[in-house]
Symmetry: C2
Subunit: 373 residues, 2 copies
């Protein structure tokens, strides 16, 4: 068990490799985009995400296969089961790729969700408006990320327009939830069913893109952390899960409402590279290769700031006390995550001071977080 | 400033690259031994350590040059000054490569050393015995490491025999010091003369090879830590130093006696990867590329155990609470460092318990440290 094959070679794959090298693992990536971030220090097979010679080569070079994003076609990985260990198990992909199956699974396991309806016609759309009320959110069931593929409707007219603009795909309608804040839990499960959990963290999005994570979530009712762990452990058990899994929640009036899951390392867990005893990346590698999981203990609070579109002046960032910088080696482009900064401190006061300093250095447009106003 | 060229591609180079990748740097190595540890994820030019086409290629591919071991020939790097930034400055190499110049430099700067004499003839050897007393230690002035190239003499006869066996090289005789313990200080200096210091650590050698580092050195008089910092800061200033420098000391009756220096990242600083806010490797990269230095703060005590000769059962090692493993991707061979384990805990009690567990898993022969008896 030396060679890890990874579907996808973006920044998550890059950080997986950086966590796996010290443990003696070698990596090979498959990604349709040449010169992806992980290819800087590991071989990349440039091939589409489908069965074929590229995938065959990856399998032949690997002892275990994993993926760094959840939209790997199930038809690509399911036929591999039995030929090579694939973790997380492909059956975790289906509910992650379809918001309807995902919410149905959450409900089956007793996790609270917003009210939702499948929408596949104008008629079912109008019925959803009647049953869920307004405003509501229409989303494509598949392939939405970073706020793409969804529209909010405040009136019947807007609901109709949203349906027409999205209706080329099967949809889901969700009751609009004016939540108090967004949280997420990153967990990892080993091959023997052993689990470790990072603390619930607080996430701040801007136009659907994660901008800021505070770890652990400040001022959290510890019962919510416990509840989230129980729910995510049950979810992982149900899926025979192996590896890192992230679940996003809303907090509303002291309640936890499950929003979505990602069967992979997650942007809201990047702080763990410096902030936890074992990072989410190392724990994912440990899990899929059958090694014991590492402790998720934190030494102090952290903030993780995504660098989106273009990089700020890095020397200035590194002057901030407790700052670490991660460059994904990607070209800058509006809305694209090209790096992140982790800020650590002995307490929240120190971390928030560092955060203000950091945000002052970010390009206009990303810096106006209501959180820091 | 994107491309870092490194002379030497061993485990130190490997860990430099792993620390530099997240900051967006790319690496190229030069080493005469093909398939060196760093070559697993960065290009390696296989060439001797001398001026020639290999070095020319490295220079052409690099924006800054550094080295991962102190025995790079001065004649190789000195001609590069003015063509490409070389850090640490080549003039730091001479005293590091010659035990006589090194001790003379220490003395010049007011650092205490054992009494020593240059030995270049049987006559000067016998005179050293007379002046320094017995036992004494004869060492080659150059190219000694891991206990090689030195002999202890308890009698005039042994001194003569030691001289004859080593006399193909210029020698130094040192008064034997029955020290209380071995300490070392790892420091880093930036391009503007700013310095950061890791705490003094306690080192345990076995047959001349470092086996164990405890960080920070337990039960240390804080005045010694302060004194070591002052001395090393003066030393770095004297050398116009840029990068990480390590100085080994003996502690004897509450005094600090300087033993030797290494103008590079150092084995006794490996704990800093997990144990300090910024590792020695990242700080070396930050220094030589002109970035601000990072904090050297620790969250709790650490022990670093070298894995020598052959690897223990890694899954068992990773079951130890607070254990991290580093594989250098080197073939096992008696006396060869092929990996290390860092053990972290909230206090020394926890770290020592982990250490006992770890040592119980090491192959016979490396495990009998008097420290754990």
């Amino acid at each position: 068990m030396k060679n890890v094959g990874v579907l996808g070679a973006g920044q998550l794959g890059r950080m997986l490799a950086l966590a796996g090298f010290p443990l003696g693992f070698r990596f090979c990536f498959l990604d349709p985009t040449a010169n992806s971030p992980a290819s800087e220090f590991a071989p990349q097979i440039v091939a589409p995400f489908e069965p074929g010679p590229g995938l065959d080569e990856l399998v032949s070079r690997s002892d275990v296969l994993t993926f760094e994003f959840e939209n790997v076609p199930v038809s690509m990985v399911e036929p591999l089961v039995g030929k090579i260990p694939v973790y997380p198990p492909p059956k975790a992909l289906s509910p992650s790729q379809d918001r309807l199956l995902e919410k149905q699974l959450f409900r089956k396991l007793g996790m609270e969700t917003v009210a939702f309806r499948a929408v596949d016609s104008m008629e079912s759309c109008l019925q959803a408006v009647q049953e869920l009320g307004l405003p509501l959110v229409l989303k494509t069931r598949r392939l939405g990320y970073d706020g793409k593929g969804q529209k909010r409707a405040h009136s019947l007219e807007e609901a109709k327009a949203a349906f027409l603009s999205l209706a080329s795909s099967p949809l889901i309608a969700e009751a609009f939830l004016p939540f108090d804040r967004e949280l997420s839990l990153v967990a990892v499960r080993g091959q023997k069913g052993d689990c470790e959990f990072y603390p619930l963290v607080e996430n701040h999005h801007n136009q659907g893109i994660l901008h800021l994570t505070l770890a652990p979530a400040p001022n959290l009712d510890p019962r919510l952390d416990l509840l989230a762990r129980e729910q995510v452990e049950a979810l992982m058990r149900d899926l025979d899960y192996v590896g890192v899994l992230a679940v996003e929640f809303f907090e509303k009036d002291g309640k936890l409402i499950a929003s979505e899951m990602a069967p992979r390392v997650h942007n809201s867990g990047h702080w763990s590279i410096e902030g936890a005893q074992t990072s989410q990346f190392e724990n994912h590698i440990r899990a899929i290769t059958g090694l014991p999981l590492g402790s998720t203990c934190m030494a102090g609070p952290c903030a993780m700031v995504n660098l989106i579109g273009s990089l700020p002046a890095i020397p200035k960032i590194l002057e901030i006390s407790g700052a670490s910088f991660h460059d994904y080696s990607k070209e800058g482009k509006p809305g694209r995550k090209i790096g992140h900064v982790t800020l650590r401190g002995p307490d929240w006061r120190a971390v928030k001071a560092a955060l203000k300093q950091c945000h002052g250095l970010l390009p206009e447009g990303v810096r106006q977080l209501p959180f820091l106003a």
